[in-house]
């Protein structure tokens, strides 16, 4: 099952939808053009990954992070993507935080039911600890190195 990286195409249906929404109504796209755009998108991701990886290595990190990708965009002369990408990143982070808090809340509610007899004091301490852990997790994800 040796697949060349360029063969890892993104789903045609999604690509087609993105193209159609970018173009005015009534404009069509031939199958060849659509498949070429799909392949171009894959090549784009591969190229961006390689660029981003260079930035990560410069920072002596082994994990690609968001700022590596943003730096890669500038390097590839796609500066116009940077602002919308930053906005998308903010929205994504908010959503992730919301999800985390929601699952934490569920856990708390579950604990409440099982530890119904424990005094509330220890509960507050537990909350603080959990918050600290969350912050640590976020910092780990960032892995920002001071240059």
């Amino acid at each position: 099952m040796a697949e060349r990286p360029e063969d890892l195409n993104l789903p045609n249906a999604v690509i087609t939808r993105i193209i159609k929404e970018a173009l005015p109504d009534g404009v069509n796209i031939s199958k060849e053009a659509r498949s070429a755009i799909s392949r171009a998108a894959s090549v784009f991701v591969l190229y961006a990954t390689s660029c981003a990886n260079n930035f990560a290595m410069k920072g002596k990190r082994k994990t690609l992070n968001a700022s590596d990708v943003l730096s890669a965009m500038e390097e590839m002369e796609f500066q116009r993507f940077v602002t919308p990408l930053k906005e998308a990143l903010e929205a994504y982070r908010r959503e992730q935080k919301g999800k985390k808090e929601a699952s934490e809340q569920k856990k708390k509610d579950k604990d409440k039911k099982t530890d119904a007899e424990e005094p509330d004091k220890s509960r507050d301490e537990d909350n603080d600890e959990e918050e600290e852990r969350l912050e640590e997790e976020e910092q780990n994800e960032e892995e920002e190195v001071d240059n």
Partner: protein, 118 residues
């Protein structure tokens, strides 16, 4: 009496996202009907597979994958619009492969695509 339960598959055979999506079967993607909640249309798993295909990459954070997916979407929009400019000049309403080739030649930022689409 054991009624022979009609063991016929009640559910339609679910097609997982196969590597080649050239068949006419429309692949059901995540519902994107809620505006604002749609952060990225491209499946992150596919993008991650592409990232992992690079032998130099060790790990990639979730945020990085997400931004790459979003960037790829912006890229598709951009190149489609640029290619359309060429088609418009030919007064055609269907984007052809040659429009794409013209756009790649004309736009500096697409230079990295030269020779990769054949």
């Amino acid at each position: 009496m054991a009624a022979a339960a009609a063991a016929a598959g009640s559910g339609t055979p679910r097609e997982e996202e196969g590597p080649s999506g050239e068949t006419a079967a429309p692949q059901p993607q995540a519902p994107t009907s809620v505006p604002g909640a749609r952060l990225s249309r491209l499946p992150l798993a596919r993008v991650k597979a592409l990232v992992k295909a690079d032998p130099d990459v060790t790990l990639a954070g979730q945020e990085a994958i997400f931004i790459l997916a979003r960037a790829a979407e912006l890229f598709v929009e951009t190149i489609a619009k640029d290619a359309y400019c060429c088609a418009q000049q030919g007064k055609r309403k269907t984007l052809q492969r040659r429009d794409l080739d013209n756009a790649i030649e004309a736009v500096d930022e697409f230079a990295f695509l030269e020779g990769t689409l054949d």
